[in-house]
């Protein structure tokens, strides 16, 4: 397990970067923040493409940069795979040659990616012999992702890699990244503006603002914080629950997941009993009821206790629930008043099965 430690300070015009964080191997660390917050600058610093005035970056026990010790490893010695915000394909090489450019790298760990598998995943088999100038925006993006994957890096830096892709393909690639991190257990630093991607991928979120780390922690910790309001659209935040597969309901194509607070029915996940699954529950998808409703299409009803109710922000209040694990619901102030919700009350959390997204997770 190789961890990445970053401490980066530099100045660009009137912009000041001063960021410190670490990213664990086998985890996806999301750099999140508004446009201009300094995410790309951090990535470039890690890659050795931008000179820092001050700081220290280390990967496992290798020091990549240390302003005090005067260490500054060349980019090619750092073992990074970088998907740039702009694709940066080599215009004079075919797609295939672009993809294979990084494979010559000598690596400590054996090569794990498989060319054909990645080609299939990215659906670029038909364009392998074309030159980049003839590719569509999304095709370029995919080749850039493939090129970084295939270079077998010790740390993967991905700067908004999925922006030009459709949701289905996004999903496939996200799944692949989730698998990848588990297999090769390298740290993955991932920049995105999409809350969706954060909740699907993140093991850890670093929230940047104006060149500084504003907050960091698990997605639950960061995305739920009310002081981070301006960064996150109402209710798109949520919680992530670690579960294990309990049993498969084949006839209804459902999977029953067990977690400390009870069971969750979700659309079928192809995994055997005992497999660890991480599910993400958006707070706006959670409804509350004081009595257990009958004859309703909602399959997941969890008995929970209200931990806290936030002051109203506009129409809504955020309710933190204790279902042995923390859970979060976003409901209207009006409902909260009408149902007379109070801290400590026992209520039912209603979660539609189709609203729950699960993903295999080791």
């Amino acid at each position: 397990m190789i961890n990445l430690e970053v401490e980066a300070r530099t100045r660009l015009g009137s912009f000041n970067l001063d960021a410190e964080f670490h990213a664990l191997g086998g985890e996806v660390t999301i750099l999140f923040g508004r446009s201009g917050a300094g995410k790309t600058t951090v990535m470039e610093s890690i890659a050795g493409l931008r000179n820092l005035s001050d700081g220290k970056i280390s990967l496992g026990d290798r020091v990549l940069f240390d302003s005090c010790a005067g260490v500054n490893l060349k980019p090619e010695r750092r073992g990074i795979g970088y998907v740039f915000q702009d694709a940066r394909l080599f215009p004079h090489l075919t797609v295939r040659e672009n993809l294979l450019y990084g494979r010559r790298r000598l690596t400590l760990q054996p090569y794990k990616g498989d060319f054909n598998k990645i080609i299939d995943l990215l659906d670029i088999a038909s364009i392998l012999s074309r030159f980049p100038s003839t590719l569509s925006g999304g095709e370029m993006q995919r080749v850039a992702i493939g090129r970084a994957f295939l270079s077998n890096p010790d740390v993967l830096l991905m700067d908004e890699p999925l922006v030009s892709l459709d949701d289905l393909r996004k999903d496939e690639i996200l799944k692949y990244i989730s698998q990848l991190k588990d297999i090769v257990s390298i740290p993955i630093i991932y920049v995105t503006h999409s809350v969706d991607e954060v909740l699907k991928l993140a093991d850890k979120v670093i929230l940047m603002s104006d060149g500084n780390v504003q907050a960091s922690g698990t997605p639950n910790q960061v995305m739920g914080r009310p002081d981070l309001e301006p960064f996150v659209i109402d209710g798109a935040g949520g919680t992530v629950v670690d579960t294990v597969v309990d049993f498969q309901d084949k006839s209804h194509s459902l999977t029953n997941l067990a977690f400390p607070g009870g069971n969750l029915l979700v659309p079928r996940i192809d995994a055997s009993r005992g497999t660890h699954i991480r599910v993400r529950i958006r707070s706006r998808d959670v409804a509350l009821a004081t009595v257990r409703p009958e004859s309703i299409s909602v399959l997941n009803m969890l008995g929970v206790k209200i931990v806290s109710i936030s002051p109203p922000r506009g129409a809504v209040v955020d309710v933190v629930l204790d279902a042995k694990v923390p859970l979060r619901a976003q409901i209207t102030q009006k409902s909260a008043l009408e149902l007379n919700l109070n801290e400590g009350m026992e209520v039912f959390a209603l979660i539609k099965t189709v609203a729950v997204e699960g993903q295999e997770h080791v």
């Binding site: 493409l49 060349k74 795979g81 970088y82 740039f84 215009p91 990084g102 010559r104 100038s133 090129r147």
Partner: protein, 229 residues
């Protein structure tokens, strides 16, 4: 069709120009790279030094070479004593003269390409594990290739047309240094030499034409590849 003398002059011109460009190319690329990429104290002086052969009339250049590389000259003596080589009055000397005269043209063309090169691509190559050498040969060089080709052609053409420095430094020795322009100079002194001179001039232009055509062909091939319609 060609007289033996004409053929000899053409061969000589080709040989001298080829070696002049071939030998100066690595230096040209190196200096173009340094000038196009970096800022350093004395850059203007290096630039001026590289371009000096443009402003100094070739004849004067030839004299300078004679002084430096002649048997009694600074470098000439060293070359002779250490390597037993003498450049004066040999085709190698003519190549040297041509190389110096055409060097600014070579450097300038390459330099423009170096300045236009997208450093982002080099950075991408570095992150893919390519060291500066590999990056240079697999990314930078292919991308500045059109400019290099232009520089090579320009320099080659200039070498084929080189007269003043050559006749001064390497003399006008038949079969050794009497290139096309020198042959042209020689025949024009003869009565009715105009038609012979015209022939030689046409050969020069045809040589240059072939070089240009070749370079255009190579450039188009490499451009077509990576530029969309």
């Amino acid at each position: 069709m060609l007289t033996a003398l004409e053929w000899e002059a053409i061969q000589l011109s080709l040989r001298i120009s080829f070696w002049a460009v071939f030998i100066s190319l690595p230096f040209g690329v190196g200096i173009a790279w340094v000038l196009g990429r970096y800022n350093f104290p004395g850059k203007s002086f290096l630039d001026a030094f590289v371009n000096a052969p443009l402003v100094i009339p070739p004849v004067a250049l030839g004299y300078i070479l004679l002084v430096l590389f002649g048997r009694t000259g600074l470098f000439g003596r060293v070359l002779e004593d250490w390597l037993g080589v003498s450049l004066v009055f040999t085709w190698e000397g003519a190549s040297l003269a041509s190389a110096i005269v055409s060097f600014p043209l070579l450097v300038r063309s390459i330099r423009i390409s170096v300045e236009n090169l997208d450093q982002g691509l080099e950075k991408a190559a570095r992150t893919l594990g390519a060291n500066p050498i590999r990056t240079f040969f697999t990314i930078s060089l292919p991308l500045i290739w059109p400019g290099m080709l232009a520089g090579i052609t320009l320099a080659f053409a200039r070498c084929v047309g080189e007269f003043g420095a050559t006749i001064t430094f390497a003399s006008n020795i038949p079969g050794e240094t009497r290139t096309l322009p020198l042959a042209l100079y020689t025949v024009i002194e003869m009565p009715g030499g105009e038609s012979a001179a015209l022939r030689l001039m046409i050969f020069s232009v045809v040589l240059a034409f072939i070089a240009l055509f070749l370079s255009e062909f190579l450039a188009r091939r490499s451009r077509k590849k990576f530029r969309s319609n």
